[in-house]
Subunit: 471 residues, 2 copies
Amino acid sequence: MTQGLIDQLKSTVGPTNVLVDGDLSAYELDWRKRSRGKALAVVRPGNTEEVAAVVKACADSGVSIVTQGGNTGLVGGSIPDESGQQVVLSLQRMTTVRSIDAANLTMTVDAGCILQTLQDSAEKAGFLFPLSLAAEGSCSIGGNLATNAGGTQVVRYGNARDLCLGLEVVTAQGDVWQGLSGLRKDNTGYDLRDLFVGSEGTLGVITAATLKLYPLPAAKLTAWAAVPSMQHAVTLLGLAHKHLGAGLTGFEVIGQFALSLVAKHYPQQRVPLWQDAPYCVLLENSDHESEAHAREQFERLLETAFEDGCVSDAVVAENLTQANQLWHIRESIPLAQAEEGLNIKHDISIAVSRIPEFVATTDALLEAAIPGVRLVNFGHLGDGNLHYNVQAPAEGDSKAFLRDREAEVNTIVYDSVARFDGSISAEHGVGSLKLDKLEHHKSPVAMGMMRAIKQALDPHNTMNPGRVFRV
Amino acid sequence: MTQGLIDQLKSTVGPTNVLVDGDLSAYELDWRKRSRGKALAVVRPGNTEEVAAVVKACADSGVSIVTQGGNTGLVGGSIPDESGQQVVLSLQRMTTVRSIDAANLTMTVDAGCILQTLQDSAEKAGFLFPLSLAAEGSCSIGGNLATNAGGTQVVRYGNARDLCLGLEVVTAQGDVWQGLSGLRKDNTGYDLRDLFVGSEGTLGVITAATLKLYPLPAAKLTAWAAVPSMQHAVTLLGLAHKHLGAGLTGFEVIGQFALSLVAKHYPQQRVPLWQDAPYCVLLENSDHESEAHAREQFERLLETAFEDGCVSDAVVAENLTQANQLWHIRESIPLAQAEEGLNIKHDISIAVSRIPEFVATTDALLEAAIPGVRLVNFGHLGDGNLHYNVQAPAEGDSKAFLRDREAEVNTIVYDSVARFDGSISAEHGVGSLKLDKLEHHKSPVAMGMMRAIKQALDPHNTMNPGRVFRV
């Protein structure tokens, strides 16, 4: 039976594109190297018709499918389980930029395209594709859409969902839904696009997408500001919205301890201002006029912020190199954390207005439970999204800390998130990692509707089963 | 049985809020006065709990529900059918602005709130709620969300869906789904919000929403430009995106014949430039700096456009009164059309890049089929959305024209839309008016998924049955 399916898959996509032997780590091991599955086979179709044929063949055999793009997910949603009975459907051969429509401000691309390739293709055509995140050199747009990826420019351009105008999808039955029209308005029935976006491969396979493009900004400026408290960071955000309007394309907050780790482990990076304030803020201003105009706007904003007392010190990058250095500090936090030892990561969101109180409350709860605990708090404050990570006390054994305290820490953090009406997964998704937590925190009415939809579109539960929720 | 239900509804919402006698035209007659239904009763709950109780009572009796806001829909989706067996659930008593969260840039409101009230409440708090459309003085935000309304600022701010961060919904089973968290990022499962938005009351009842706010622009300027062709209008749109960036908040195109009708029936409006060009474009520039800056931006754009030959003449409004006069011309087109006689309306969308060819092709097809036919073509070109309306030949009897030629005209227009991969309903929805057309034009795969979702969430088909599609 299984051999029959594998033979059928080989005849569909070619024998070299069905991998069963050898080292399949690239497909079976998750990005954070925390879990590993075992695939029945890794199948790499070359086009949508082949994807449909693979899905049909698997459906006929009752074999379930785990769709995989760049395999850079952080919640264990893109690797197979340990049964050795799931097919990994890799889209890594489907990398064509199908078309760029300048007048419609859209591009249509295969789901396997690497995000950075899309950014580059758009730029070459004179446009911006604004989705931007740490894994952009490896992640695929299909994975970005399946997990509704966020990143650093959400404050202006929204999440992956907001950047998508249409999809091509292979359904659980192996039919092709063609929704690549590139329309900005289309009120002809239910929003199937947004249902597939963020469904983490549990409803079908995204094979292509039509994405929004924006005119390339004439200039992009970066500033780094020390703020006296998280509340002042929130006030600064309001001022930035007012002064920069849609020019505000990035607003990141970084806690002092997170910066101290970068300063300690990467002293060559010369982190500015971190010793003077509990938080620093990284701001980006994209301007469609000129660099001079962007600078003038930034200066006016910072003047007001100084007068209001919500910024104690600030620097504006003089050139692109300096701007990249500032962003590099931000991007180095996860690595600096790893250098310091294992830690417990969270990807949470709260209404922006409630973040100061959330942080004060949750910091206190953790400090009471774990004396000396160290909090690596940073994130996309513009979207209310914090990577609120918990590091072992300075003298502790971080391995033991993770083993002994992870469950307790997660409970403290997620219960606090729930009290502040927040989300336990802001931009990473649920995957297999947060399955049980979701069941606990999401309302039964919402879970019931989600299960009914899953049952309706994938009645035999063959699309990435056991991810997001158990049926 | 029926009397039992009515008594139960009276005890739930109070006897004065269950209307069964007298003139119920306001609830039974559609906005365009083209069709009229007959309600079993009109029920007006005062809060979400009452809505839930009404839905449960109706579900227990197997009675179906038509949810109604301002009853300003254009596709017959918010009035009952003729059976006299459907309950109209009117949300007109639920009009509370529940809260405004300035730091989170959100407002949470009851679904029955009138759109204009929301705009005013936001403005009073120093913010912009950018949804704006002709019926804003009467339509409710619940209806706007149920139909994913568009309007004149979509080019910058998106449709109603894009302006909504969360919903409170009463499901078909009478349960309350509470999704009003106001989060800008939340990847914990399927996107239920966007499924209810645009579902036209067929899946549940939207009872409240959390909406996005924006800083109020410092200035808003309007310009009116004559363009030599539709292709030149598209080129101008590209220039406007580049020069104004996110400042471009309106881009409307209006055909010469549409303007001639306004000039003829409302000569006091003094329509500018219409005699010189086949199309005029209405542009709006919202600026977060100052009016002077907005004007300078506009002037630079228009200079470039003159040099490029895509604008032959233009005026920039000197003040708010002049700007309002220009917008008033645009808003007067439907009335001027009605003065001229009955006509056949379409609300279509096409990729912006393909609109010039679509218009040329479809104009020619109609002129060949109906010598002397007159085309009232205007719309939101920035979103690829045209109100491509067809008026009887000058000397014809418009009543007879509508009776004899409507089906033929619709077929010509919608078949042409299909050839250009467009949508037969850009911003008005499907309702009962476009039911059969949708079945013909939407892919069977999409229709199949929509039916499966309906069956999953409303298995007894009691929520606005016979709208969007027949189950």
